[in-house]
């Protein structure tokens, strides 16, 4: 039976072609991906009454994407990622309050400020064990929260930063009370940053990050300057988080201490865990899942929805994150390596310093 006569008559592809195709395939967009963004764009027109919550989802999605860059791709566990989110939010908010009302200007400033903070603090995160990393990231976020609380002349302290008024996006689109401009703005920014992130993770730079996550010892042994790569990705992720924070400040025209709170860092981890780390869409899908859950659960038991969030975390961990993400991965064949048959031939690599 020759089901495919063309393939038979064509010369067999050389190994080089196969190699190139296999490598470049990761860079191509799959149908599901295009579909995902098409649906996202369609909601701009079809779900006008949901634009406020969709705006939040886009922002949380971007924030989770930034955590994915360091957690899913570089393997840095952070309990204080809200530091960058909050720093970006306050930067954008304070700028706008003092008359710099152009949203894109604020966005750029927030990205720069957060990147700078990320760059400086990245050196703290390079050293020590997972536990010290946790503590240092947590400490930085708490420290910023404390500063924001005390410097009320600048941040409004516990009352929050009020009196933000934003100019129109690109000088054309005024923010409206239905959140349509806000959503379109957040979605566009998130989309553009997503494209950039997607480029980065399939580049040699992105590949080197994954190798560091998998086995830092070996990564160093193939000549990868591990520390420099981690500094770079931490700075980048900080900038992303800063932009997400700025979007929140600009579209809600309010910043409170809440943006730096511990539960922000914990929530965003949950978002990423729901969606699955390490394939970029986890943050976005997780954001949708998280908001939907929040909606249902807080409708059910308004005050105590945190209980169910906790329960979900516990269950996810007990069932096994890997198994869940692999299932999602199976629906998303192009963006992940297939986890065919889980025969663990490798010994659990002790990736410690020899």
């Amino acid at each position: 039976m020759h089901a495919d006569p063309i393939a038979k008559s064509a010369p067999p592809p050389s190994t080089a072609d196969l190699v190139r195709r296999s490598l470049v395939r990761k860079g191509r967009w799959g149908v599901a991906e295009i579909g995902f963004w098409a649906v996202a764009a369609a909601t701009l027109f079809f779900l006008p009454e949901r634009h406020l919550i969709l705006n939040e989802i886009a922002i949380i999605g971007l924030f989770a994407l930034s955590l994915d860059l360091i957690l899913g791709y570089a393997g840095i566990v952070s309990l204080g990622h809200a530091a960058f989110f909050g720093f970006g939010a306050y930067t954008a908010g304070i700028l706008a309050k003092h008359g710099f009302a152009d949203p894109l200007l604020g966005l750029g400033a927030a990205a720069l400020a957060a990147a700078l903070l990320g760059f400086v603090t990245s050196f703290l995160v390079l050293r020590g064990t997972d536990l010290t990393k946790l503590m240092v990231t947590l400490g930085v976020a708490l420290l910023l929260g404390e500063i924001a609380n005390q410097a009320s002349w600048l941040t409004g302290g516990a009352d929050g930063l009020q009196g933000i008024s934003m100019g129109p996006v690109l000088g054309l689109f005024e923010f409206d009370i239905f959140g349509t401009t806000a959503y379109a703005y957040s979605l566009t920014v998130s989309f553009l940053l997503f494209i950039l992130a997607r480029r980065i993770v399939v580049s040699p730079f992105g590949l080197s990050l994954r190798s560091i996550r998998d086995n830092p010892l070996r990564a160093r042994a193939v000549g990868i300057p591990v520390s420099r790569r981690l500094v770079a990705v931490y700075t980048l992720a900080a900038a992303y988080a800063g932009v997400a924070g700025a979007l929140l400040a600009q579209t809600t025209q309010f910043v409170s201490l809440d943006v730096l709170a511990f539960h922000r860092s914990a929530d965003i981890m949950l978002v990423l865990v729901i969606g699955g780390a390490g394939y970029l869409y986890g943050g976005l899908l997780g954001a949708i899942g998280f908001k939907v859950l929040q909606d249902i659960l807080s409708g059910w038991t308004p005050q105590y929805w945190q209980f169910w969030i906790g329960l979900i975390l516990v269950v996810i961990v007990l069932v096994g994150r890997e198994r869940l993400t692999d299932k999602v991965g199976a629906l998303w064949p192009r963006s992940r390596t297939r986890p065919a048959g889980q025969a663990q031939v490798l010994p659990a690599t002790p990736a410690r310093e020899v």
Binding site: L71, F262, I309, G310
Partner: protein, 284 residues
């Protein structure tokens, strides 16, 4: 001045009793248990409920404030925690944060979100003057109890069979297992005792630290500071770290209230950068 020092020591002692269980879990199992504060909260609420609803005297509630969290700890260790020892730190963090959230919401549901007030017996109220220093009676009581506990813990660890086995298991679980020590049972027992101590600390500290459903989140960072700064190789490290933290916090809040927790966090970050293994641990 000396009063502040005294209060700081009392505060530090409570912190140590609260956190020493965590030091052992972390050192022993390399398990990041962010839910440690939930056991402390349980102890605090046991005391509060027994006193306020059933009129049990304060002292009589303390044993229960130890036993109830200890049993909870034992049950959770055997059923859930045990499965996560071999997992990544990320999994442990997610799992224990989940537990914290559940505990916070559940206590809020059952008890309400208000502060729990504990009416101390009259003989523990007030202050007396000793050698020209104003000394709170309750603070003295805490220092006495916690002091006895510290000495007892040190003795148990250094003198008893259990202590020797525990230290062997901390040093190298595989070798300990090879020597026929039932490491799994030691873990469970230690976890239970650690949770119990946390509960006792929660009960004793309720008057000083306050007690409401957000307790585990509010003090999580303090426990972690004690453990990471003190190191997990001995109990002296966390003990000294607790005292420093207690004194620094009380003094900081008294002299420079505007800086608040700023000093503590900065100190912690600096220490962790200079000594990632902890201030009092031997560097490896």
């Amino acid at each position: 001045m000396l009063t502040i020092l005294f209060d700081g020591i009392a505060y530090g002692m409570v912190l140590f009793v609260l956190a020493c269980g965590l030091a052992v879990t972390l050192g022993l199992m390399n398990f990041v248990n962010l839910a440690h504060g939930a056991f402390a909260m349980a102890g605090g609420y046991v005391t509060a409920v027994l006193m306020n609803r059933y009129g049990v005297p304060f002292l009589a509630t303390l044993p229960l404030a130890f036993i109830v969290p200890a049993i909870m700890g034992l049950v959770l260790e055997r059923s859930l925690y045990r499965q996560l020892y071999a997992r990544s730190h990320l999994d442990q963090v997610l799992f224990s944060i989940g537990l914290v959230f559940m505990a916070v919401a559940a206590v809020d549901y059952a008890m309400g979100s208000q502060q729990q007030l504990i009416q101390l017996p009259s003989w523990l109220q007030g202050r007396v003057e000793v050698l020209g220093i104003q000394v709170g009676l309750y603070r003295s009581f805490i220092i006495a109890i916690c002091g006895v506990l510290v000495v007892a813990l040190q003795l148990i660890l250094s003198r008893t069979r259990f202590g020797i086995r525990l230290r062997a298991a901390v040093d190298d679980p595989r070798v300990a297992r090879g020597l026929g020590i039932n490491v799994s049972m030691i873990f469970a027992a230690t976890f239970a005792v650690g949770s119990g101590l946390a509960g006792l600390g929660g009960a004793l500290g309720a008057e000083i630290l306050g007690l409401d459903p957000t307790f585990p989140l509010k003090f999580m960072i303090y426990f972690l500071i004690v453990v990471t700064v003190g190191g997990t190789t001995s109990i002296t490290g966390p003990f000294l770290a607790s005292l420093i933290l207690g004194i620094a916090d009380v003094a900081g809040k008294y002299y420079v209230p505007s800086l608040g927790a700023f000093v503590i966090y900065t100190l912690m970050i600096v220490v962790l950068i200079l000594r990632p293994q902890g201030l009092f641990a031997r560097a490896r």
